[in-house]
């Protein structure tokens, strides 16, 4: 088709206007996802990953709102669209999968009700046709005896099965983009592996673009094509997943990778990033990671721009770990 990315988010700012002040949950996020591509969006809790996801679907609740920026889906601007138009896009062009499969399906409605309504909200489809499509969607995500399952209530499914149902619902209207907010965090590892495999297959087969929000670098390393690392409401590093994980540019990314337990350093003290995520209500001037960063100096009092490093990588740092200034392999810079 065309070369334009499925989703292009530019300088998105979503702020929450609370009584305590303005919380800048998302403060200038820029990212893009292409057809058939999985973008891993990683960062710690409170870094703005989920709010970015909700912003794309236009589901930011009061007192939050998108202050500025642009979200283009297949070239179509979504920011500022009236709610009625956004409703038509949600579930049809962009779908979302949530973290906790125990909570996402309505406990008092049967699965078929919840699937059929998702189809009929976006087109004049007969009940039978919608049921048939629902059945097919269940088969596609690997749910056995779909006819029987359609008649069941969510509590009759296991957690993994429920997440499959949620994915099936997201797939019903063949969207261009799926935003998956930590969809496997609540599942056990074997189920997680199955679901990751199926999602990868789907993206490759259908050209579906996906944003996979997670804090689990191990999951994202095996699944994503590209990685965007978020910190305090901004993307601090972006690039192909292997390059980012093997040679992180940003000190924060390096700290994140260093804090993953591994076989090679068995018994060694796990590296931590000192300090805490800054309060979104009182973000410091300049680089928001400066207070925790071993490389910070006076230059970091000014916010660094998202700068390109080579054709496919970018980072928001005055002192990145590039080949010129950092010959060594990943060391545990953060260990005292």
């Amino acid at each position: 088709m065309n070369d334009a990315p499925t989703l292009q988010v530019t300088d998105l700012k979503t702020h929450f206007f609370t009584k305590a002040g303005v919380a800048k949950a998302v403060d200038g996020v820029t990212l893009s996802v292409n057809r058939g591509e999985v973008l891993g969006l990683v960062g710690e809790s409170g870094s703005g990953k989920t709010v970015t996801g909700f912003s794309i679907l236009g589901l930011v609740d009061q007192p939050g709102r998108i202050v500025s920026g642009s979200i283009r889906l297949n070239g179509e601007e979504l920011v500022g669209k009236p709610e009625a138009d956004l409703r038509k896009i949600r579930g049809r062009k962009v779908a979302m999968i949530f973290q906790d499969p125990m909570m996402t399906l309505n406990p008092v409605l049967r699965v078929d009700t919840q699937m059929i309504e998702a189809i009929r909200a976006h087109g004049d489809v007969s009940e039978e046709a919608a049921r048939e499509r629902s059945r097919e969607a269940l088969v596609r995500v690997g749910i056995p005896s779909p006819d029987e399952r359609l008649q069941s209530y969510p509590h009759q499914f296991s957690g993994g099965m429920r997440q499959r149902v949620a994915i099936a619902i997201a797939l019903l209207n063949e969207p261009d983009l799926i935003v998956a907010d930590e969809p496997t965090t609540a599942l056990d590892v074997t189920i997680q592996a199955q679901i990751l495999y199926e999602v990868q297959k789907l993206c490759a087969e259908t050209g579906l673009a996906m944003i996979w929000i997670t804090h689990d670098l191990a999951v994202v390393g095996g699944l994503a094509d590209r990685l965007a690392v978020m910190y305090a409401g901004r993307v601090v590093e972006e690039g192909p997943v292997d390059q980012v994980l093997d040679a992180p540019l940003h000190p924060y990314t390096r700290g994140l990778i260093g804090s993953v337990p591994s076989h090679n350093r068995r018994g060694a003290r796990l590296s931590q990033i000192p300090g805490m995520t800054p309060s979104l209500l009182h973000l410091p001037e300049g680089c928001s990671f400066a207070a925790r960063c071993p490389r910070a100096d006076d230059a970091c009092r000014v916010m660094p721009p998202l700068e390109g490093f080579g054709p496919s990588r970018a980072a928001r740092c005055h002192h990145p770990f590039t080949a010129e200034n950092d010959g060594q392999e990943i060391d545990l810079t953060f260990n005292e």
Binding site: L59, G91, F98, M103, V108
Partner: protein, 325 residues
């Protein structure tokens, strides 16, 4: 399911036996009804004759044994005052009370759910705050006082609605009802609202609390992410979840609506069971009091059973097992 119902019925029978014992012996502590039937010029012999005629000369355990034997045959005693079977008198008055209670229940749902939903969806609006303040008043003001004020305002000052009686009735399946005539409806409005006020407040608070909680649940956000219309999200996804506690509580409260109607019926001279009970208490008409209380217990038991069954229909996670209640 049938095992469940059977067990429940057996438990219910036990409750009713316990109730009968408590009521029968308790009532003997609140005065001797013989004194309601004698006049100052009667001599001791006349008084003893009245006592014998009422069966009050026997020891209490013998009276109780006789009561149980007759009760098993469907006879809950004969009213001292009316000289008619107590059960018959109560059943004769029951439609009026049930009509009042059902209307009040309907009002509780019809006003309570929409108002509670509004207050839950827009918690910061001035209207919502007014609704919540109103519900506190509904909770706190005593029923009899509200009844009197309703009569003052709508019957005395404005003269819009009548203050006493049932008005015109028509027979529906052989039972006289008020709500099918305009006059009857006018008579029904004030007492039913008086009785409903507490329940409206209760439903408002329940619905609001349920809405506040459910609106932040993931399944609501997921429903929005599916692109459903707001109407469907609130009308189906939200409402079906918050109806579960509302139905449970309302079902349980329906029994208390019937019991509470004693006050309302007295204020509005509504010719129902409650008014009969108050009169019976004033005249120490023991058989009516006993029969009334046993009827009420019976109603509570039946209503609770219906609520349990309804609950299992609304909430698929509840399946009535045979593990008992």
């Amino acid at each position: 399911m049938s095992v469940f119902i059977l067990r429940r019925l057996m438990q219910s029978a036990l409750v009713m036996v316990a109730m009968a014992v408590i009521v029968f012996f308790g009532i003997h502590l609140i005065g001797d009804p013989v004194w309601m039937f004698v006049s100052p010029d009667m001599d001791q012999q006349d008084i003893e004759e009245v006592t014998r005629a009422l069966g009050l000369d026997r020891p209490i355990w013998e009276q109780f044994g006789y009561f149980v034997l007759s009760a098993l045959q469907g006879d809950l005693g004969t009213s001292f005052i009316f000289g008619e079977p107590a059960l018959g008198l109560i059943i004769e008055r029951m439609p009026a009370t049930l009509e009042l209670a059902f209307t009040a229940l309907l009002m509780a749902v019809a006003f309570g759910i929409p108002l509670g939903l509004y207050a839950g969806l827009y918690p910061d609006s001035a209207v919502s705050k007014a609704i919540m303040a109103g519900s506190i008043l509904g909770f706190s003001l005593p029923t009899f006082w509200v009844g009197i004020m309703l009569i003052m305002v709508f019957a005395v000052i404005l003269g819009w609605l009548p203050s006493t009686g049932r008005g015109d009735t028509v027979d529906l399946f052989g039972v006289p009802v008020s709500f099918l005539t305009l006059d009857g409806l006018k008579h029904l409005l004030l007492p039913a609202f008086n009785l409903a006020l507490l329940k409206i407040s209760l439903v408002i608070r329940l619905t609001r609390a349920g809405t506040r909680e459910a609106i932040h649940q993931d399944y609501i956000k997921f429903a929005r992410a599916k692109g459903l219309s707001t109407r469907r999200i609130i009308g189906v996804h939200l409402l079906k979840n918050i109806l579960i506690p509302v139905v449970t509580v309302l079902g349980l409260e329906f029994g208390s609506l019937i019991a509470f109607s004693v006050v309302t019926e007295t204020v509005f001279a509504w010719p129902g069971m409650g008014k009969l009970l108050i009169e019976a208490i004033q005249q120490l008409d023991r058989p009516i009091i006993v029969a009334y209380l046993i009827m009420i217990v019976f109603l509570f038991v039946v209503i609770n059973l219906i609520v349990d069954i309804l609950y299992s229909i609304l909430d698929p996670r509840v399946r009535l097992g045979d593990r008992g209640a």
